[in-house]
Symmetry: C2
Subunit: 272 residues, 2 copies
Amino acid sequence: MRPPLLSINNQAIGVFDSGLGGLTVLKALEKQLPHESFIYFGDTAHVPYGSKSVETVQNYSNQITQFLLSHDVKLIVIACNTASSVAAEVLRKKFDVPIFGVVTPAVEQAISFHKNGEIGIIGTQATIASNSYVDKFTSLAPHINTVQQACPLFVPLIEEDWGDTDTAKGVADIYLKSLAKHPVDALVLGCTHYPMMEKIIQSVVGNSVKLISSGPAAAKTVDNFLVKNNLQNDGKNSPTEAFFVTDFPQKFDKLGSQFLGRALTNVHHIKL
Amino acid sequence: MRPPLLSINNQAIGVFDSGLGGLTVLKALEKQLPHESFIYFGDTAHVPYGSKSVETVQNYSNQITQFLLSHDVKLIVIACNTASSVAAEVLRKKFDVPIFGVVTPAVEQAISFHKNGEIGIIGTQATIASNSYVDKFTSLAPHINTVQQACPLFVPLIEEDWGDTDTAKGVADIYLKSLAKHPVDALVLGCTHYPMMEKIIQSVVGNSVKLISSGPAAAKTVDNFLVKNNLQNDGKNSPTEAFFVTDFPQKFDKLGSQFLGRALTNVHHIKL
């Protein structure tokens, strides 16, 4: 065991996702926490997690957490709704480091926008089937009714850069038809890709519905935790950033900059 | 090294794919070769291959081939266009067993339907980017002009069971628009999923275009090889069948029976 080279405050925040979608969460974290350093891990050799089994997603998440800990991160953000839904609890039991998923922050934010209606949740097949959002609402706000819908075609549409097309509009109309029958106050975008289709989703559900994205909600939660525990970076050195991926997939550069809003640099290819 | 328990003729044929799409090829093999035994390997923990890097697909294919050889298969069919396109040659150099991909059989069949026009090819991002079909046409029939188009949304549409919907029709119209400008005699469905969208693809390209599916073309090639080399199963025992998958993904049973045309039995979960 080598000793950490930095004081705990100045260690990086580890962020991981099944692929590149979690970059939308990283983008929100950077905006909220400009003095922090980040290590992003994208498991692009195994992407997507959304259709895989719980056991397999837990196994991958476990290996990634070990990797991030070997890089002395001070906390970990699971920037993936599927892994947050099915692996966060398992990881928290196994590892000592603080671990934040994207489910609880989004649920807390949605509750704050609740009026008299219901809360909607959309996500991948695995996230919706896990009932993780519904369970979290039940435990934090049992008086709120929820309605959820899996939207498996949204991710491939976004990765094809068709997120703002008539095709995407047509698919959104079909998926969100059943939600429209409910008096929804807020809709949780339970997948890190979905903010890239925000415009169309908003147009289908109507402007009275508040859309909740994983990234900003998680970033606020992490910010509060750092302040409360006196764990903020002291800001004396420039923050650093590194990216680790298990594969350089087709369209890596294009998708990466699409999600992060700028080109990825300091990218390393590693095997789990 | 344990000795094989069966004579080489009565050993199984190994078939592998990134996931369940290759079951459409297995279905064609079973129809063409009713006396043969089969071992099907679906790498469902890593699916899809179509968007991953060449190196990663070669690595997975290598491990699967070793697994199939440890089960004494007499030949291997790569029932995956991406792996056939980027890994078949590497595997043939490394292993002694006869290895058949789905590219060459489909190209040979397409050539037989060539009149005076061109040949179209559709497939995943990786298959099209590899130019494997175009290169094979160039080497076997340099006088034929080809035109190709990646259709990344077809697989997720089929896996959502939307292969026969207005949405699929709209997506096919967009992808196949450029092909329609060419005088195409035959269109190679360069992805094992695509036969599940055959009706819509045919309606978009018109009835004068002959659609070539990977499965039946590969099955005929394998049949010819077995006959020519005297390697057919002697038919004294009932043929057996076993399935190995690296994950039981969401919707496994539904997709499996959709592609194979019946429920999967004798399914084993293994780690690579």
